[in-house]
């Protein structure tokens, strides 16, 4: 029996099941937008990041698997300076959304990282009670070159903590490239070499600082194996992001938002194609998942169990997840679809077509 947390426009759903039998078990924060969720594997705590329409970002925590929730601290920016380099920063110093929630290392109980919109990285060392902005990255001068991709401001959607060394973090920003720290966030380096942005002037297309990675994931067993679904296609890295290789676009499209990597096999990854950036719907109205088993050389498209006619589901960057077994997958859409696969994406089972727009899903 697996548990899936589903963060939606109208609350958090808890889905449980296995194989082809899954069901919505409970609904929390009914009516409130939930932008991210996390089940902390270290202590079992659940977190839900709310984006209240009136009252801003809130973080709720449960120690009893959703029976009760309590409010904990939420990431918040410090006061914006009125003088100096950042006084004219066009990006608001207000957290609009928690976009990524990642537990710290196994040897760091209580440490959490939050990637936000705008693209601030926040750290908690007390299980979410209090948060502090990572100033070295926020005050990195090149941040002024970042811009929003599909949003008004740049946002940080992917935060990876290296299971071998929790002081090594890799984060991805739309549009601000991929950044890494090896000293717990005291210093950062830009690591998007090899990526190309066809939305930029040709002479700036390989500027690492303005790449638009839609989603960044790593292989649990081999953390130097990284995959990115980029605005302009698919990229992989075998050396922890020192160099990125473009992957030839699979049929029917290389455009999308989501990517998932087999936690045991760095050469296996899944994607959900859409037509193009200017047409964010499935190709020919057929919903497909593409999978590579050979590191991106070839892909197979799977649609068994997915809507194959006049389907206009879009799968956001946090809406394709693989469980630890490498076989169980979950996928959700902006039009309220939720599907599960028990055989590595080859066949899918519909859990619901009637949920609110889904922002993120996480296995508990």
């Amino acid at each position: 029996m697996e548990t899936l947390l589903v963060a939606s426009r109208k609350g958090l759903f808890v889905v449980r099941g296995s194989g082809a039998q899954w069901a919505v078990e409970s609904h929390h924060f009914a009516g409130e937008p939930v932008t991210q969720a996390l089940a902390d594997p270290r202590d079992g705590a659940w977190y839900a990041a709310l984006r209240m329409g009136h009252f801003g970002v809130k973080l709720r925590k449960s120690l009893d698997q959703g029976v009760t929730w309590k409010e904990v601290g939420a990431p918040a920016f410090p006061l914006k300076p009125e003088q100096g380099f950042w006084a004219d920063d066009p990006t608001p110093w207000n957290v609009d959304m928690v976009w990524a929630l990642t537990p710290g290392g196994a040897d760091e109980p209580g440490t959490l990282w939050a990637g936000c919109m705008p693209a601030g990285l926040f750290k908690s060392q007390d299980g979410g009670q209090t948060w502090a902005l990572n100033r070295p990255l926020w005050e990195e001068p090149r941040r002024k070159g970042w811009f929003g991709g599909g949003n008004d401001y740049p946002g940080m959607h992917s935060v990876l903590v290296d299971p071998r060394d929790a002081r090594h973090l890799t984060v991805a920003v739309s549009c601000g490239g991929v950044w890494q720290t090896h000293d717990g966030g005291e210093s950062w380096s830009l690591t998007a070499r090899g990526m190309t942005a066809d939305y930029l002037p040709a002479e700036a297309a390989d500027d690492e600082n303005t790449q638009d990675p839609h989603r960044l994931v790593s292989c649990g067993a081999q953390p130097d194996a990284l995959w990115v679904q980029h605005h302009c296609g698919i990229y992989r890295s075998r050396d922890g992001g020192a160099q990125w290789q473009a992957v030839k676009a699979p049929a029917p499209s290389g455009f999308g938002f989501a990517v998932a990597c087999d936690p045991r096999n760095p050469n296996r990854a899944w994607f959900v194609p859409a037509v193009a950036d200017a047409c964010r719907i499935p190709v020919d109205g057929r919903m497909l998942v593409t999978r590579t088993d050979d590191g991106g050389k070839t892909f197979t498209a799977f649609g068994d169990g997915l809507p194959q006619s006049h389907a206009y589901h879009l799968v956001y960057r946090h809406s394709l997840e693989v469980a630890g077994d490498g076989q169980t997958l979950a996928m959700s859409s902006t039009t309220g679809g939720l599907w599960m696969s028990a055989n590595a994406g080859e066949q899918w089972h519909c859990v619901s077509r009637d949920l609110p727009p889904v922002a993120a899903i996480r296995f508990a």
């Binding site: 937008p33 209240m52 329409g53 009136h54 009252f55 801003g56 809130k58 409010e71 939420a74 918040a76 920016f77 410090p78 006061l79 914006k80 110093w93 207000n94 957290v95």
Partner: protein, 89 residues
């Protein structure tokens, strides 16, 4: 004294009874009232301590348009009401 009331839409998240606080600037009045429920402050103010875009503050019958400075001076007997603005979704 100035009376400060938070609407039910706020109190359903963090309970806070109607407060009576000393007259002064609107900011001073709001900050003083929120000492009774510090957890409510982040519902009313954003990270920069401005009134949130979708929160409305009324002084007596007048909605306050300034969300940043809040330097309007209030007199004893004034009433402040903090509500959620009408937004959809």
């Amino acid at each position: 004294m100035v009376q400060v009331e938070f609407a039910a839409s706020l109190r359903r998240h963090v309970e806070c009874a109607t407060q009576l606080v000393a007259a002064g600037s609107l900011r001073a009045v709001l900050e003083a009232a929120l000492t009774a429920a510090p957890e409510l402050a982040h519902y009313v103010f954003d990270d920069q301590r401005s009134v949130r875009k979708h929160v409305a503050v009324f002084v007596n019958r007048q909605m306050v348009l300034d969300r940043v400075n809040l330097n309007q001076q209030l007199a004893s007997g004034d009433r402040v009401l903090v509500i959620q603005a009408l937004t959809g979704g």
